[in-house]
């Protein structure tokens, strides 16, 4: 009927066909896991080594700027990092300048890290919740945490929280771990960058910031890792899987890797198909 070959048709396949194949392709490996090995990359190793240098009593700021919607990418690495921080007997100050739903992320982290059970709230960790305001907030937090967070999430005035007695800014905090889907790590680098941390023996010239990011930002952030502006960096669920391997836990990062493998093969297959069909049909038209 029509002179269209299969290759012509392939160039204009209804995109919904791909969507169905993709969704099924992502789901199947959860039921039948393959368990391929994961190699650790230098940026993830950098984060882990940085955490290993923490001493008992050091304060780490965890800035949860990724929403629940980015759990797939950020939560595994956050859980693994927090586990390591607590194993080093360091303290945690947790806040968010990014997302409204950080309370749920925070709760999930506390649920998933058994190390919290042996710690005391207010002494070993404190949570301030979310405050909208982005970069201006980060700039405020550098010098005056109490100016932004007058109370913690339970309503205790910040000055009355035992571990916050001597902490009010970047100079009292050993390092920042920021988990974000956008540019919050940039805010910390730009705003906190010139400030010295409480631990100058940390070995970093710049203020120690590590990014627990989404894979998408990995190539952009990579140059900051190479230049030393970030001491560590994990990208997406893959980074999470690497962190889980280093810390020695089995979490969602490791489990998701199989799906990632299948879906990547699918997209590469589709790209090969489109190129073959493109080349074949182009030859014919000449």
């Amino acid at each position: 009927m029509s002179d269209k070959t299969i290759w012509d048709k392939l160039q204009n396949v209804d995109r919904r066909v791909f969507y169905w194949i993709l969704f099924v392709g992502l789901a199947v490996p959860f039921m039948f896991p393959l368990g391929l090995p994961v190699a650790v990359t230098p940026p993830t190793q950098g984060l882990y080594s940085g955490l290993r240098k923490l001493q008992a009593g050091d304060v780490v700021a965890l800035s949860i700027n990724s929403g629940v919607s980015a759990w797939g990418d950020c939560l595994p690495a956050m859980v693994a990092s927090v586990t390591q921080v607590l194993r080093q007997d360091a303290k945690l100050v947790i806040w968010s300048v990014g997302y409204v739903d950080c309370d749920i992320t925070y709760r999930e982290i506390v649920n998933r890290v058994p190390e919290f059970k042996s710690k005391t709230y207010g002494v070993d960790w404190v949570y301030f919740g979310y405050c909208p305001g982005q970069e201006s907030n980060v700039a405020l937090l550098r010098d005056n945490i109490r100016g932004l967070y007058t109370k913690d999430i339970q309503g205790t005035p910040t000055g009355d929280i035992p571990m916050m007695k001597n902490i009010n800014g970047a100079k009292d905090i050993a390092m920042v771990l920021t988990s974000d889907t956008g540019d919050v790590q940039v805010y910390y680098r730009n705003q906190w960058g010139p400030t010295k941390s409480s631990r100058d023996n940390f070995g970093a010239v710049k203020y120690p910031v590590a990014e627990i990011g989404i894979a998408m930002n990995l190539s952009g952030d990579m140059s900051f890792f190479l230049s030393g502006d970030l001491f560590g960096l994990t990208g997406g669920s893959r980074g999470g899987a690497e962190m889980e391997k280093l810390v020695g836990i089995k979490g969602d990062g490791t489990i998701t890797m199989d799906s990632i493998n299948v879906s990547h093969l699918l997209v590469i297959g589709a790209i090969i198909l489109t190129n073959v069909s493109y080349l074949l049909t182009r030859g014919k038209k000449r």
């Binding site: 993709l22 391929l36 994961v38 190699a39 309503g155 990995l218 990547h264 997209v267 790209i271």
Partner: protein, 213 residues
Amino acid sequence: MSQIYKRELVFLVTGIVTIVMILDYFFVFSPVKDLATQLRTWALIIQLMAIGLGAINLVRVHWRNIQKRTSTWIYSAWFMVLFALLLVLALMKVSTGTEHWIYSWFFEYPYISLSNTLYAITGFYIFSAAYRAFRARNIESAILLIGGIFVMLANAPIGEVITPWFPLIGNWCNSVGQIPGMRTFAIVGTLGLLAFGLRTLLGKERGFYSEVT
């Protein structure tokens, strides 16, 4: 006279705030620092309070749909009911500090699930975008394609199972290959911003502060 209040003074306020922010960034001069910190807090408060304006716009849009009986009016009505219910619960939470179980339920399950769903919907679209964009039509798109494929195979653990070259080349693209492009983007973007900022400072960039009548 009114033109001054309506236009020139607005530019003046913008300019002063801009300069305070610049000075605060570069100099250790405490009066400027205090002023800048104040202004940042003010900006935050203004931003927080502006949300009501958005809510009014949204409610007006849906109210109009209902009034005009547009094709989607029934959904607008559902929006109104749900919004009213949740708004009352949200205000209750703010004033009393305790969360009503209906509010927590809506927040923890439907809201979270929906925002995850929307965030993940990109997975579909990126698939079809890749299908169309990664076609080697000329040298440029061939380079795009090669860069993309190698990085994907470096990211997925399966790449290194096939051959160790995939992560090697992919990681090179990631850590070195993309740098000239991305770095220059950062540089020229900032230059563009500087020019745009100066135009705003001098009151030459009036597009967004359009003439008031």
